[in-house]
Symmetry: C2
Subunit: 364 residues, 2 copies
């Protein structure tokens, strides 16, 4: 097989992690890099994607929105757009310098290197399941079709996937925006199901299944995590939401055995709400993108329980020192966005559960 004509043949050896695209002076992985090489030519194991749409990480978009909101509460969408363009032009990737987070993208494969292990073909419509924070990206349309007021960003441009990247082909029978929005958070339900499954296994001989609390249960990763917890065998699922509107939404979706309203940043309120709803939880899943939820999540969790932090607003030291300071014997997991089979599992939950699907569709 002859390599496509645009396969790059420079001296720098390709690395499946994308190290060869890092332009920093020190050796860092693409995610930690200040700047990536965005050239269109591919190393032999790379794939180039024609971008249709970016899906900004919620924590990142909120930060940009807050920053460009005036005293009267009006968001300056063009300023948000200008900042995203500036970040991508400067860094060669979309990584919010404040939150450190990125998002994902959807597009069509336009070139595949001869050594790519991803199994993609030219013309495949894909969503990238690795973060934008490590994806070389060039925006070519100035984001002219985006008003700067939504996380979903119509975009023409190009992006590069490495050998060790992940991309999922988008199903034909679903609205692509719906698929993208599910795949964006698909690590959360997969890891939740795995952890809950461990507790189910462990509790089997005592005939005792775990209680699972999901903080931010009406959100995207939250609603999928609730569905995953139930599917994995949780005895009781508790969704915690910030206000009555989300309470009614989540109750209507039928995803949780109990729905509680509490400010997740208030540790005592969160503990009390989860307790009143049937807690403490054996597994607490944090899916709210606001800082300061670590203490409450720890207090809402039973001794020997597990907290899974999926929010990018999580502070490592607040979690570590918080648990120590509360003498809380809880296991705390950094929510890894990658679990094998995560995208397929999340799509399966969406198809099987009309409650989840309804919550996602009303967001489109």
């Amino acid at each position: 097989m002859n390599p496509p004509s645009d396969i790059h043949t420079e001296i720098r050896t390709g690395d499946p992690t994308g190290l060869h695209r890092v332009l920093d002076d020190t050796v860092v992985l693409p995610q930690a890099a200040q700047r990536l090489d965005t050239r269109a030519e591919l190393w032999p194991d790379e794939v180039r994607v024609r971008v249709e749409r970016l899906n900004l990480d919620a924590a990142s978009f909120r930060q940009l929105e807050r920053k460009h909101t005036d005293a009267d509460g009006r968001v300056d969408g063009s300023a948000v757009r200008a900042e995203v363009l500036d970040i991508v032009a400067t860094r060669g990737k979309m990584q919010n310098p404040e939150t450190g987070s990125g998002g994902m993208l959807v597009g069509t494969v336009e070139a595949v290197g001869p050594e790519s292990p991803l199994g993609l073909e030219v013309g495949d419509r894909v969503a990238t399941l690795v973060s934008l924070t490590l994806t070389p990206l060039v925006i070519e349309d100035g984001l002219a079709r985006w008003d700067g007021r939504s996380e979903q960003v119509p975009c023409d441009g190009r992006a590069v996937l490495f050998g060790r990247s992940i991309a999922a082909v988008i199903p034909d029978d679903l609205d692509p925006a719906l698929s993208l929005s599910v795949m964006d958070v698909c690590g959360a339900p997969a890891l939740t199901a795995r952890v809950v499954g461990e507790y189910v296994e462990r509790g089997r001989h005592e005939d005792r299944a775990p209680t699972v609390a999901v903080i931010g249960g009406a959100g995207k990763s939250g609603s999928l995590s609730l569905a995953a917890a139930r599917a994995a065998g949780a005895a009781r699922t508790i969704g915690v939401v910030p206000h009555q509107g989300e309470h009614d939404l989540l109750t209507g979706a039928g995803l949780a055995d109990a729905v509680a309203v509490a400010d997740a940043r208030d540790p005592v309120a969160l503990r009390d709400a989860v307790t009143a709803a049937g807690g403490p939880a054996d597994v607490t899943v944090v899916c709210v993108d606001v800082p300061g939820c670590e203490g409450g999540a720890i207090l809402a969790t039973a001794e020997g329980g597990t907290v899974i932090f999926f929010s990018m607003a999580t502070s490592f030291s607040a979690a570590a020192l918080g648990a120590e300071g509360l003498a809380a014997d809880v296991r705390m997991l950094v929510g890894n966005g990658y679990v094998p089979g995560h995208a397929a599992y999340a799509m399966e939950l969406l198809r099987a559960d009309s409650g989840v699907r309804g919550l996602f569709e009303r967001r489109l």
Copy 2:
């Protein structure tokens, strides 16, 4: 029993987490608070300690040292001291605003509230095992006996423990500085032993014990973690150190089956060093207090393996996005400083292993 005369009887109800000492406008736990109430009077479940010595968290002390180093590399010890005094006076606790971390203290119990569940008596010599970041503290001697050039800070002052705090009585037969220095990091070996034990259990029917890599293996938490991994049944222990001097030290201590030299901030170098030493690791323990070690730790870990982050310099988003970006199916744990029995376990390792003890004693 009559309460001691200095038991506080104000209207604010005491909470075992110390919430009643938080002076912030919003409800946050003491660790997250900007400022704590340091009054000497005790709520009924509190304990007051006469402070002898503070032990600053390594990441915090390094940051202060770096900040007050001039162009010629000279550390201005009085500036370091002034900053610590200023932090404690302003916040009512020692919490480095840059690193978010604190440290611990040693002292003598001077008053015990009638409802304290800690089992301490007046006159007990104790080390606090909860962080200084949530411990009300007043320094009364201006740190006059400290030159600002070491993490160990002689100090006269008072501190308060809450109902849900942890303090360990210091053994009579060991140098108190040695005990303090062990207890400061005692969460790491306890959690390492627990996690390694899980892998040993799981691998038993395949007759396969885990490989454990400790990044920063010659340090305090690192050397104890190596000893804990071996005691818990690791098949092979690998210590990674930054330079030849530590290589020789750790080799001499006999704590690891292999010792490798690598810069932990260089992900590819770290991966290659661990692999060459017999990796990838089933369990990787990160004990170095420098930022940027997340990617290398993930790459050094086998699929299905676990990374335990004990360094306060760990970035949550770098870990979460790093694993996702590398499509790495690894479990990542936030190193909880509290595991029941952790202090006693660490002291046991120190007494049993002359290699560990030697490494600790040469630091005093």
